[in-house]
Amino acid sequence: MHDVRATQEVKHHGPPASFIRKYIFSIDHKVIGRQYYGLGLLAVFVGMGLSWLMRLHLGWTSLAIPGLGWLNPVGAPGGLMTPEYYLQLMTMHGTIMVFFVLTVAPFAAFGNFFLPIQVGAEDMPFPHINMMSFWVTFAAFAVLISSFFFGDGPSLAGWTAYAPLTAVGSIAGPGQGLGQVLWAFSIALFCVGQLLGSLNFIPTTLDLRAKGMTFSRMPQTVWAWFITSCMGLTAFSVLMPACILLIMDHLIGTSFFVPSNLVVSDQLQPHSGGSTLLWQHLFWFFGHPEVYIAIVPAMGIVSHVLITSLRRPLLSWKTIVASMVSLAFLSYMVYGHHMFVSGMNPVSSLVFSFPTLIITIPSTIIVLIWLGSIYQSRLRVNSASLFALGFISMFITGGVSGFFLAQPSLDIMLHATYFVVGHFHFVMAVAAIFGIFSGTYFWFPKMFGRMMNEPLGKLHFWLTFVGVYGIFMPFHYLGLAANVRRYQAFVDDYTTRLVPVHQFSTIFALFTGAAQLIFLYNLIHSRFWGKLATDNPWESTSLEWTTTSPPPYDNFGGRHPIIYHDPYQFGVQTASGTDYIMQDSPEESVSEETRSSS
């Protein structure tokens, strides 16, 4: 009896009245999801702006960027970018994009909004923790950005923050004092935020599923988010202690990461005995799973969107889920491939190399299943499905370059070159971004109750798709020509002839970035003036489409959906003549049209 009261208390909070409780400190998972999406949007445009400046500088090193001198007279006197300022922009670009875009948008934003709806729950089990999770993440973002305005700017040590550069303080360079501490603090906060998120995601998936929502009936997205939150749980809880230790090395003078007898800029450092590899181990134990934290939700979204536009279920959802799970597991065993040449025992390099090669198998399986599912489907082309297909193309491109980097012997040549940059921008950054776009065009009607503008969406896709290849494909060539990354200018004799390639991708970067403004316009315009959306504009089957757009405060307006089918009943014949059956409708397919079992 008391248990009943329990569920009552956990799940029933009435809709708030005041503006603040409704839109700012809201405990409604849908509002929090939108807030996360907004944060991701803000972050992605900041990060893009930074990359514009970087690309401009790389293309034309002695170019005085107009306005930059006014923006930062120290970092860019007269608009002329200094090396430290370039590195600071680079660090912030990486950190903002990896943490506040690739982690926040596909996982936290869409996950918050749709996970409870897709399992038929009224809300997350701990709405207040959920609210806290967002605001902690937001604080992390604020702290990170604030480092632009304190001391001599943000850290210049890259998003990987390798010690001891990050641990010895401002003697090591501009931004290595206060800026680096703020960086570490911000990331620690971010970890807390994401752990609080997992604290909600996992119980939601386990305990709050509607009647009939067996594991085998959870949509691909739910699986993806569930797997991701499990990974986040183990990854972020390792990064946070690492950041704490780093801050201690900085402020208290401990020696976790700083060895003895370092003479930085003629000054003997008062540290002793620390291990620089320790940071790399801790960081990459988080860092590699992080890559999959970014990509797995995107995979889920792509599957979800693709199925709807193919009008058929995937060849086998089990295989996809199994592959995603094995990706998650393997991602912890392969992190060492980031450290092949960093002084790790050469034997362990080989040990790390094989799982790294093997991890390509599940990825390949996923791609093949997608391709096989397109075969003899009824592919409907719209912005969402275009981006989903684009994702597959990107993922293939970025995936194959992984073969090179998985081999220590080739890593000797390619490590820390633009090849790596090209690789992870395709397979992680752009792929995940395409997933986000796809999800946005697909779910926007449900999130905001209005349709996005299709023609603009398609235009956005074309410019982005072509543009992205134009930016990042040349990176592979640069890498093969041994062009080292994280250089603010190319002064080596063998790299000077590569500058035209940089200029090429700079031009594409500017033009692709500009294309994103179309998306922004589309987003804002449709939010307020787009044409009203029906409940199920894409004729999709999963639970979010059974409720109104946008869903009411308790998601189903007091209704408690019962699930009768696996989520993707497409390509069937129903009495009502549709080719799909909603997940919560008891009707069955009248004629057994061939439909692959899921």
């Binding site: 090396p83 430290e84 590195l87 001891p164 550069l165 010895v168 090591a172 360079g173 700083v258 370092l262 003479v263 003629d266 003997l268 620390g274 620089t276 060849l315 295989t319 002084g343 050469p346 390099s349 190399s353 094989f354 090669l357 093997i358 198998i361 093949l368 299943i369 391709l371 096989g372 397109i374 075969y375 489907s377 009824r378 592919l379 082309v381 193309s393 293939i396 491109t397 194959v400 073969f403 090179f404 081999q407 012997s409 080739l410 000797i412 820390a416 070159t417 074309w462 072509v466 060539y477 020509a481 080292v484 994280r486 603010q488 002064v491 080596d492 004799d493 063998y494 497409f570 049209e593």
Partner: protein, 267 residues
């Protein structure tokens, strides 16, 4: 629209392959004895993955072309072999490729890192610091003098913190700003970092190894082409990272001895 996408994907895939096919931008030519194995490994991998890349993009484009915009009148087909077939395919294709590349790759790797040091190898020490490399030759006595960190001073160009007054081994050490090595002789390079993490990357030599602060590593290699090449840093080490470089001069035996004498005179 979809057909256009298919064409675009094909065009992009084809165009992307051209520069690699044509070897328009390539790394500096190999000058090391272990390099050929790495290069062949590279081209093998390029061949296999290039094939995967083109095939994948082609199938994607083909299916998009064929199956987009089909109405209800077309029945939903099932890919021959279904999921199981595809999984098996993935395991066979990628699996074999992975094992092959993995094994070959480890051979190349082993040749770099597990090959025993030949007798008569010459020892050189490289020191990395913000933002320059300095090199040390043991001199006639063949011994490196001890490093006194507190004595390190760029002001007096005592980059290594050598105490030439009191340490006999240090007296004849030769510290240079560029690295010269005799051709066709194995070099054992001791790597010591003065301050932070740096890296020793010589593209032409097919060598890349990080300096680990507080831990001296040694690698060994043999250069077999006379010439002047670049040593660059690939481990982000601060604002001057992009300009942290030194030159590697591979000389004939006589030239090298002359050079070493000349440097010794400058100490």
């Amino acid at each position: 629209m979809a057909k256009l996408l298919a064409v675009t994907i094909l065009v992009i895939a084809a165009v992307s392959a051209i520069p690699i096919e044509e070897h328009i931008w390539t790394a500096p030519a190999d000058i090391s004895t272990h390099g050929p194995l790495i290069d062949s490994q590279m081209s093998d991998t390029m061949g296999e993955t290039g094939l995967c890349f083109l095939a994948g993009q082609f199938v994607l484009a083909l299916f998009i072309w064929m199956y987009s915009g089909r109405g209800r009148e077309h029945r939903i087909g099932r890919f021959p072999g279904g999921a199981t077939g595809l999984v098996i395919a993935a395991f066979l294709i990628v699996g074999t490729e992975v094992i092959a590349l993995g094994v070959l790759g480890s051979k190349a790797w082993a040749q770099v890192y597990f090959a025993p040091l030949k007798p008569g190898a010459m020892t050189v020490e490289a020191q990395a610091g913000q933002f320059a490399f300095y090199f040390r030759y043991p001199g006639p006595d063949g011994k490196f003098g001890p490093i006194h960190p507190e004595m390190i001073s760029d002001a007096t160009e005592n980059f290594y913190g050598l105490d030439t007054q009191n340490d006999p081994a240090s007296k004849d050490d030769i510290v240079t700003a560029e690295m010269a090595i005799p051709v066709d002789r194995e070099i054992q390079l001791w790597m010591h970092s003065k301050d932070l993490g740096h890296s020793f990357y010589v593209p032409a030599l097919r060598i890349q190894q990080d300096f680990v602060p507080g831990l001296d590593l040694s690698i060994h290699f043999t250069a077999n082409k006379i010439g002047k090449y670049e040593i660059v840093c690939t481990q982000l080490c601060g604002l001057g990272h992009y300009n942290m470089k030194a030159y590697l001069e591979v000389m004939s035996r006589q030239d090298f001895d002359a050079w070493l004498k000349q440097q010794a005179a400058l100490q």
